[in-house]
Symmetry: D2
Subunit: 412 residues, 4 copies
């Protein structure tokens, strides 16, 4: 029995899935192969990823490969009820709905694991954590795949502590994932969400981006492309220099706070913006988060400074400070691109999910010989996805001649 | 009696108006002055502009200046019912609702003119045209203001033909309007709308922009900023060279048709994309219009090539061609940034509407001495708006010393 | 008898002229026509333009059209002796050498006018001024062409004062001149010169550009493209807003002075940077001028603050202030792109000089019927140059159908 | 006895060294420390790097640290005779002059090693290779540092083959080296050199960049910033996708050859452009190399197609093909930014050479305990250089609180 909101939304969801299919050619190519080879025949796969149209394509791809599939969302605010309905109508076991309470959300995750999967596809480490509590659901488990930088940090902590109990694939670290999803997917979708929800100008604004890693440098690059004057804050000196050489102003958050119009955090850290920064911000400053957890700017600090929190428009809360200044918080401090927007473009998730699908296949085939560690995605998988994508985009690649290969190997 | 959809939406509309107010400082400054001076006391103003939150601010500003105000929308698909309700709840005479039929739409316009305004604020020339049919509504009329390039072309044709019967101000041609609204307002809002409605990647795509005027060059610039490879088509050789020197590929539409992923027209002309172009487009090409009328790409031609037109997702129709290729039409070929998006950012309309309000005041004060012609906005108005905006943005301006002025006047 | 430095440099100069010929296809096309038509047969043309390879092509083109040609340079520091030698070896009457003293320079100009030209090609108004003193050289004169914004300002002052004594063509104001030469020619060549002479990084630097007109906005755009963080100063509020919307920081020079690393002026005005600005600059700030006259930053002010002026490297003087800070002045405050660099790229001068040649032909053919005023270049000339250039660049232009023309004329 | 061209050039060289000193603040900071600590007291250092002003600063820094220093250049065409004279006048043992024959060049290198250094600073592996032939010069040798990607490839081949006989530091791989020197140093200096030597427009041109690694992506980025339409060719599928996502066109060299105006190679490989590509190029195409060796485009192939090779202007040879097309080769296929330009900006070499100096110090202090391998630069050195640079640039860096550190380590 699926746990969804409204099965009547299925036709709408099916249309949306059909739409994204047209922009995910790598998954299409894999689907043809999976239908022929049925690599997951007889296996169960549990998926926990932001549950919208692109994720539905991943679930359907796994099923085309012979798997039984159960899915839940990785954030109750990113779950799309029409997609849940569509998946349920196609016989996928779905446990998710938009706006689930924390209790409901946990129960959705539990039920998706109760399925006793052979493979898990995880986002931010939620499944892995839950399996500590319900070891009985891991009886079939061969291993899994992790989607995010944050999840991988947590898995590494487990490996160090010796508490990882099955092999996991570091999908985030594959080239075809982090080089595109983190930088370009986040870069575009953050501004899509901010522009759409605020209807504010980006050009002519001073945008402060906290961080200059893969996600945050993508956010900074796109802000510049949209005409903003961009300030970057960093704790890492190399990245700070890179940001400066890429033409951004680099300063401490203390100095950026009073001059920024729009603040976006994507550091993976907490408390990047705190009380003393909010106190100095301009009236009507915007604050948004694009990091995995809603801790990058400290909402408690902001609330403690405020006389009122009021609804301004969808996905925007106004915090009125004692001196009447308003600080506008987007998406309640959660992932702004997913909560207030549509998430990463389909063309990007095409690569990320292709890596997921092939990594799941890999762990299924090799899991028995793997240790309880975090594994990199093999280069053959990564490369294959890249080559299919290039072909789908109609881009030509040169090939090394044997003489060139010899030259590069120092045989000259 | 207002003609609106649902008065219960007023609270939502009021919030939205409050939101945009925070990003329209020039209108705020004018409001303070208008409240003190009541320049429109005893006068009636009829407004026909895309009816959403920013336009509501213009209507309220005019009323703050003492005017009685009637408003309608300039396109039934851009009218926001919550804004209509909010304005009605504040006593503005509103005649508009979303999705009006052509007959309803014409009736809304008629009723807004039946008000017998002293001043009209027009968008695309609809009011001026309607007053030919209902000369009885022009009994009080002193003159009016026109917002768009298209409306001004039509007014110029009237001036040439001797059929303009009252003075009009060419608001579009003011520096504070076309330099910012057309280029930056359109540039951002078109991509906001396309990204939000398609959830497609812009980076890595080949975008074809038809035209390289103020609007279209803004669209091209932002597409480049978002990572696209941009092709420009033009009929004007200077603009074609400018586009090439700005780093764009320039070619005929015949050559661009088979390589574009996303097509955006903003030429002010018709039939820029026709049958022979659609026939050569790639599967799943997107076609959008950002020109005033929905004639820039020829939908009839596309329909004649299609076996099916089907709903794909909000604001996107799929046209299935005989060979199974799909051409995706955004916003049914209407202004994509207004129909599928939120229109220009508030900060931009702040300037455009400040020019409108001050031009309306000007024509009211000087109308008696003006001929039935199209007048440029006086530089003092234009300059004043620019100076208020600069101050609101916190930007410093240097001043010429008397010695520098003398030098520039050739006294050296 | 030519007045040149060293005829033995002719072979080198000829090579350089041959080089630029390959990148000036419009002049080539005109040359073919001029050779056939000999429009200047029996006429004398005196040319005063920065005397380097591209200018040599203009002189040779005029001669190919049947003219006798005399040339001098418009700045003794921009004259290339090898080009002078090459022209002399081809029988052109040249009066110019690099590093002429002010007296020698004036004499070179005088001798070039003593030639009693029918047509003058002027740069900055020097010939026109000199003809006040030597009216006897104007006996054949039909009229002339002016190349620069500055020269045109001076001609306008003369028209106002009634002291222009022959018709002049405002070559600078043609689309094919100012849209490309001023913006793109200056934009690139200024940074070419600054990078080459300083060997300094542009990326990561704070660049202050004084002005946001055609030349200065080109300089700002290229600085941004090279990775700088760019500040713009302006006296014109529209341009200040445009700069802000184009993503630049806009502030008063007083505020920019202490944070800039590199200052470039291109305002057409004097005293844009004065004593109080130099006093606040950072150690090792660079100051350069790209305006026509060396008055944009006040060198006297700087000298008065300095304890020493010393040669640092070619085209760079160090001004040591009392507190040991050094201000580096490029090209002695003269046009940095021409004195310390190679001037505008050949492809740009191809258009500017094509306008010159066709304007000279126009004034010769129509001079008798023209008043002693400043005339715009006719659109047919401008358009013809644009069309030849587009074809040479291999760029396609769409053509309006009769139906489209009718639509644009309001016949719908 | 130094081997130099002309000692009378010393004053000019000293000025140039003084100039770059002002833009190399990290070396300045290290010099203060080295003078106090004399870390190289009693030690000999042999340096083989492109011998110009910035390199002179490195040599002088080592000497300030107590070393006896001998220097030679790493390419006879990049050696500046005034700098050699200046160093000789300061008592550095210099063996180099511009335009040395291959035999002279080898002899210069030999004499620099004959010095029996304790430390070598190498560029491209020349010293390491030469020490195979003259093992007697390695009697004092503790180890060395390698500057380039190419040199490191060769050292890795030696490590694999077991033929490296002393420890070497991979200076190129330090963050403060390759992130800035390769990408930004090469990016700017290549275009500086091409613009200066050709005086051609970059804007509006089609530029083909072979490769999308650190150097080549910097070249592509700057070409775009200068207004070019840029095509990238690659053999690596991830980089090809990155280039496409960064907005470049990606295609095979076979397809790029007929449409490019300017070709720049920086792949580290040979035969990237060969006969079949030259055959299809446009008339007056430019071909330049920015890779370490002059093998990236095949000059022999080009010569075999040509009827004539002629001097066009400094650093540019014209190859006339049988059909009269001309292919222009820049800098004879050698590193265009160093041969036809001034090399990397001083601000960049400030970091690269700081890493060199501190790595030399490191190997001197730890060499006894190191194996005959290639070592990464320790992060403390890398980080220290970054922190000094940030401070010199006036850029603020945030610091992690203990709570943030704990959070990042998974303690939450």
């Amino acid at each position: 029995m699926p746990t969804i909101r409204d099965i009547s939304l299925a036709p709408l969801g099916l249309k949306r899935i059909e739409w994204v299919r047209d922009f995910m050619p790598v998954l299409d190519a894999l689907e043809k192969r999976f239908i022929a080879e049925k690599p997951f025949a007889g296996k169960r796969v549990s998926v926990c990823v932001h549950l919208e149209a692109k994720t539905a394509r991943l679930a359907l791809l796994m099923r085309a490969g012979g798997a039984e599939v159960a899915v839940t969302g990785s954030n109750p605010l990113s779950t799309k009820d029409d997609i849940c309905a569509a998946l349920a109508s196609l016989g996928i076991e779905v446990h998710a709905f938009f706006g689930a309470t924390p209790e409901e959300y946990k129960e959705h995750q539990r039920r998706t694991l109760e399925f006793c999967p052979h493979i898990i596809i995880d986002d931010g480490g939620d499944f892995v954590t839950l399996l500590d509590k319900y070891p009985q659901y891991a009886t079939n488990l061969i291993g899994g795949c992790e989607e995010t930088t944050t999840g991988i940090s947590r898995l590494k902590a487990r490996v160090r502590a010796g508490t990882l109990r099955f092999p996991m694939m570091a999908v985030n670290d594959a080239n075809c994932k982090h080089l595109f999803d983190n930088r370009h997917g986040t870069g575009q979708s953050v501004w899509d969400a901010i522009m759409y929800s605020t209807n504010n100008m980006v050009t002519g604004k001073t945008v402060v981006v906290a961080g200059y890693g893969f996600c945050s440098s993508g956010i900074a690059m796109r802000a510049k492309g949209l005409g903003a004057n961009v300030i970057v804050t960093e704790v890492n000196p190399y990245r700070a220099l890179e940001a400066a050489m890429d033409g951004f102003r680099v300063m401490r958050m203390d100095d950026a706070a009073p001059i920024g119009d729009i603040f976006v955090c994507a550091t993976g850290c907490k408390d990047v913006i705190t009380k003393r920064h909010f106190e100095r911000m301009k009236n009507n400053a915007m604050v948004a988060n694009a990091g995995h957890f809603d801790v990058e700017f400290n909402k408690d600090d902001l609330r403690s400074l405020s006389t009122e929190v009021f609804d301004r428009k969808p996905f925007i809360d106004g915090y009125r400070l004692k001196d009447e200044r308003i600080i506008n918080v987007l998406a309640d401090g959660r992932l702004v691109n997913i909560v207030a927007g549509n998430g990463h473009p389909a063309e990007i998730m095409d690569m990320s999910f292709a890596i997921q699908a092939l990594s799941a296949k890999y762990i299924m085939e090799h899991g028995a010989s793997l240790e309880n560690k975090l594994y990199n995605v093999p280069d053959e998988i990564d490369r294959e996805v890249a080559l299919i994508k290039l072909e789908a985009m109609g881009l030509g690649l040169d090939r090394l001649t044997p003489e060139q290969e010899a030259y590069l190997n120092g045989e000259f």
